[in-house]
């Protein structure tokens, strides 16, 4: 299977602080990857580097065979990598429908601002795609509500729906269920994953809830101290002793009481 995304020896340092080191990951087309790890383990740094928000200090990111390392985020988006945000990034003074139209219209208008200046904002194609997105992400009831008035779950859905406007092949979701109540988390993920599966999008999602990961991920990347300490199917990766020790907290400290620096295990 050829890799959609290949990450090689990715590093990121902020001064003396090492935020990410020696990350090597290949993601094949169609996979759904759950990214887990404690706060500060490097999950978001990883996502931010792939989407161009942070410039890596070293290493390479290859998407569909081409290097995207250090490109500005808008160029990476145009190549087919999109992302959502921990805090939904919306246009609060636009309605839900207008938010979607904006996202879709930009995707259609091309990279140059000159083409954006001559492309009509309101076209039948844009409107049609916006209606489809409303239906897929089940936010149609809020169609004409201002984005600033949306409940948390709807904000998350709209954020992700906007990210899919350019039909990305790879979508990175940064904590799609953060701020959502326990009861609603599964329903929300069901909606998101169903919509994305219908589009055939490869997904990487950062998640704290292990039940969600178990349920939706084909594969788990466990981050600790800036690097991947376990990588494999959920059943294997989540039961890895280091993951249990450092992330899920299900394993009690070893008898001698010492903590050793974990090594990468490929299941």
């Amino acid at each position: 299977m050829s890799a959609l995304l290949s990450v090689r020896d990715l590093q990121k340092t902020f001064g003396q602080v090492v935020a990410a080191r020696d990350i090597n990951v290949d993601v094949p087309v169609g996979q759904t990857v759950g990214i887990i790890g404690a706060n500060g383990a490097g999950k978001t740094t990883f996502v931010n580097m792939i989407t161009g928000h942070l410039k890596p200090s070293g290493g390479a990111i290859i998407f569909e065979g081409g290097a995207i390392t250090g490109l500005p985020s808008r160029k990476i988006m145009r190549l087919g990598v999109a992302r959502s945000f921990q805090v939904a990034q919306l246009f609060p003074t636009y309605t839900v429908f207008e938010n979607l139209c904006a996202a879709i219209a930009i995707a259609h208008s091309g990279t140059s601002v000159f083409s954006a200046a001559v492309a009509r904002f309101v076209s039948d194609r844009t409107k049609g795609e916006a209606e489809t997105a409303l239906a897929h992400f089940q936010i149609a009831p809020y169609r004409d509500a201002l984005a600033s008035t949306l409940p948390q779950g709807m904000r998350k859905l709209l954020d992700i729906a906007m990210a899919t406007a350019g039909n990305p092949r790879l979508l990175l979701l940064d904590e799609p269920t953060s701020g959502i109540s326990l009861e609603e988390k599964f329903d929300l993920m069901e909606v998101i994953m169903a919509a994305l599966k219908a589009r055939g999008t490869t997904v990487l999602f950062v998640e704290h809830d292990m039940e969600i990961v178990r349920r939706f991920a084909d594969r788990v990347l466990a981050f600790y101290d800036g690097t991947v300490i376990a990588d494999g199917p959920p059943t294997v990766a989540l039961d890895d002793p280091r993951v249990a020790e450092f992330i899920t907290g299900t394993l009690i400290r070893a008898k001698d009481g010492t903590l050793k620096a974990p090594t990468v295990s490929h299941a």
Binding site: N48, H53, F85, Q86, V87, Q89
Partner: protein, 298 residues
């Protein structure tokens, strides 16, 4: 050689004046996030009232030394009264609104006050040269330098030291620092932000008026003198970094020396030189010399 000395002395004198004017603007911006265009009006009123006070004082033939006290006292009174009225009556209503809306309010106030100035003092120039001429001059390398100008440089230097000391060491200074860095957190920790605002605005107003007052003896005080001040002070503050005293000091020195170079070497380029140096600094340091580049957060 004479030109070099002239450039340095002119540059320093101009920088001293700029610093006094800019520090008030920078302070208000740093603490309140308000770009106070009405600062130009504080300056203009300071100049007019000081010129009037000097006139009244010297008409009575009282000793010259007291004239300097008249300058200071009139400036402080002007700044306090105007600052208090503007803050309480107008600015209070727009706190928390969009920055540009607040700028427009101060801009409107400035427009009004410019005409009020003409209503009170008329359109003719007003001279109050006595403190300047009484001060005399000394010879530096063959160049007569006014003692009044030297006094200005010393005054600005003392002001800079006092301001840096006050920010770092006094309670009020620390409160200011807290509000500058994070208004909400400071408020959550019990800092009376509203009171800090009032005090800051008064202080800024007094400094603006003082800038005008110390200039009055050097020029013919006439309408429209507040305008250039606000743009120049902004240039200084933009170069130095909004809200930074060290920045205002360095910005004033850079602009002062650049302008002096232009005045003596290429007089046609005077205004151009000032803004060109600002543009140059901003190309490389978009938020000024003393302001760290802010990272965008997601």
């Amino acid at each position: 050689m004479i030109t070099a000395i002239a450039i340095v002395t002119d540059g320093l004198v101009y920088a001293a004046w700029l610093f006094v004017v800019a520090i008030g603007l920078s302070l208000i911006f740093g603490v309140m996030k308000i770009l106070n265009v009405a600062h130009g009006a504080f300056y203009a009123f300071g100049a007019y009232i000081s010129a009037t006070a000097i006139g009244l004082y010297f008409d009575r033939g009282w000793p010259a030394a007291g004239g300097y006290v008249a300058i200071g006292a009139s400036a402080i009174a002007t700044g306090l009264i105007m600052g208090y009225v503007l803050e309480r009556v107008f600015l209070r209503r727009v706190y928390g609104k969009d920055e540009v809306v607040v700028v427009l309010v101060t801009y409107a106030l400035f427009l009004i006050l410019e005409d009020v100035l003409i209503l009170i003092w008329g359109a003719e120039g007003k001279a109050a040269y006595q403190p300047y001429s009484e001060a005399g001059s000394i010879d530096i390398g063959g160049l007569a330098v006014s003692l009044y100008d030297i006094g200005l440089v010393i005054f600005a230097a003392l002001l800079a030291i006092a301001a840096i000391f006050a920010i770092k060491k006094t309670t009020f200074g620390r409160l200011l620092t807290a509000v500058i860095y994070d208004r909400e957190t400071a408020s959550a920790f019990g800092v009376d932000v509203s009171r800090v605002y009032t005090l800051t605005f008064l202080l800024g107003a007094v400094l603006g008026a003082l800038g005008g007052a110390i200039t009055a003896p050097k020029i013919s005080v006439s309408p429209g003198l507040g305008v250039e001040v606000i743009v120049l002070a902004f240039a200084v503050v933009a170069i130095g970094g909004m809200g930074s005293i060290e920045g205002a000091l360095l910005g004033a020195l850079i602009v002062g020396l650049f302008r002096a170079c232009a005045v003596h070497l290429a007089p046609n380029l005077e205004l151009f030189a000032i803004y060109a140096v600002m543009a140059l600094v901003l190309v490389f340091r978009p938020h000024g010399l003393f302001s760290p580049a802010l990272a965008r957060k997601i």
